[in-house]
Symmetry: C2
DNA sequence: CGATTCTTTGAAAACAGTCAATCTGTGTGG
DNA sequence: CCACACAGATTGACTGTTTTCAAAGAATCG
């Protein structure tokens, strides 16, 4: 299971085999079944999580009890509640699996060790976080400026691998529209 | 003008006077008049910008030519196009002043010098970026889960200093609703 | 003042949400 | 292999919210 990560990381940065071994030694592989949580609202997020296989999602529950998907994380994506991870406060996010999945977990302590020992990894992490911020900002722009149809188009462009893979009602939840609306948008969209 | 920053930063981290002097030496203070740009779409963002006085805003222009405000930055806030700053690609954001303002600018090169020489500052910057990400994520959640009225309430809570200070139609642009709608929301809201 | 800029209001139209029913495909257990 | 349950998707009718357009009323500034 670690091989997936190894392939991923060595395409991004150069690591010698001792470093790779160290990173491997400090991580915990985990199989997660569909619907299984790796983080629940109220718990503290202690881990960095890399998705090796399958697909995870992070969502928050609104005042009225509705689930709102904050983001999807298929293979090669990282997912966690950064806020809780950084502050040690209870998480607002729930993270669970949409499919049977395999993830790699590094605790905060272990991840800090890695960052200290392998500066490349620290820099790489910063780059990931910077990109996450950029895409969050991009998404804000899209949600405040686009119609339901445009949002769906943008989603397909951004996640061409996902829009057939995850249930429509979850995409609707991610986009902030009702599933009925998205269903109608999509059927019109298909007729073009 | 630097005193504002000095007060701000020494409340957050401990710096000796040599360090403060160094930071001061590498920065450029700038007065910006209302409506004046410090960054325009298409240019590359080379600076870190700290608002010492007044209020700045970052916005993007949609396909239909409408302005959509990405964020406000009153006193003690940082503002820039991080994406362009990091990648060197043309900025998508415009940043201009809503009031006559005073800002402190550090070029990327100078800021890197500071970060290298004063580790505390590097760490501090990371903390700022992490918080920006958290609040971006919070905002995503709000925009996809709340009604116009709730968004306005959240805005007031988050920016109690701003909602009387910046024009209503800009708050509307920030929230992703029309100014007319926000005007109506607010008048209903006032009757409670 | 006169000219912007900003806000408000009304009425109609477009849009999205809700409710309820139906339809589809998948998988499970008898 | 069938029957059934279940999760997901679709459709129609209705409701409610938001946008749009147009006009007029405040407020601010040179």
């Amino acid at each position: 299971m670690f091989e997936v990560f190894e392939k991923y990381i060595t395409e991004k940065i150069t690591l010698n085999s001792a470093e790779l071994q160290r990173i491997k030694a400090l991580c915990t592989p985990k199989r997660v079944r569909k619907r299984q949580y790796i983080l629940q609202e109220g718990d503290v997020c202690y881990n960095n999580c890399f998705v090796a296989k399958g697909c995870m999602r992070a969502y928050r529950v609104g005042d009225d009890g509705t689930e709102h998907i904050i983001r999807f994380a298929p293979e090669h994506w990282w997912i966690s509640d950064r806020e809780s991870y950084n502050t040690g406060l209870p998480a607002k996010l729930n993270i669970d699996a949409l499919e049977d999945s395999e993830v790699l977990l590094w605790t905060k302590d272990n991840y800090n060790l890695i960052s200290d020992e392998i500066p490349q990894m620290a820099i790489f992490t910063q780059r990931i976080l910077a990109k996450s911020f950029d895409s969050a900002q991009q998404r804000i722009f899209e949600t405040i400026s686009q119609t339901a149809e445009e949002k769906y188009e943008s989603f397909i462009k951004k996640h061409p691998d996902l829009y057939r893979r995850v249930p429509l009602h979850m995409i609707a939840s991610y986009l902030g529209v009702s599933r009925e609306t998205l269903s109608r948008v999509r059927s019109q969209y298909a007729h073009k």
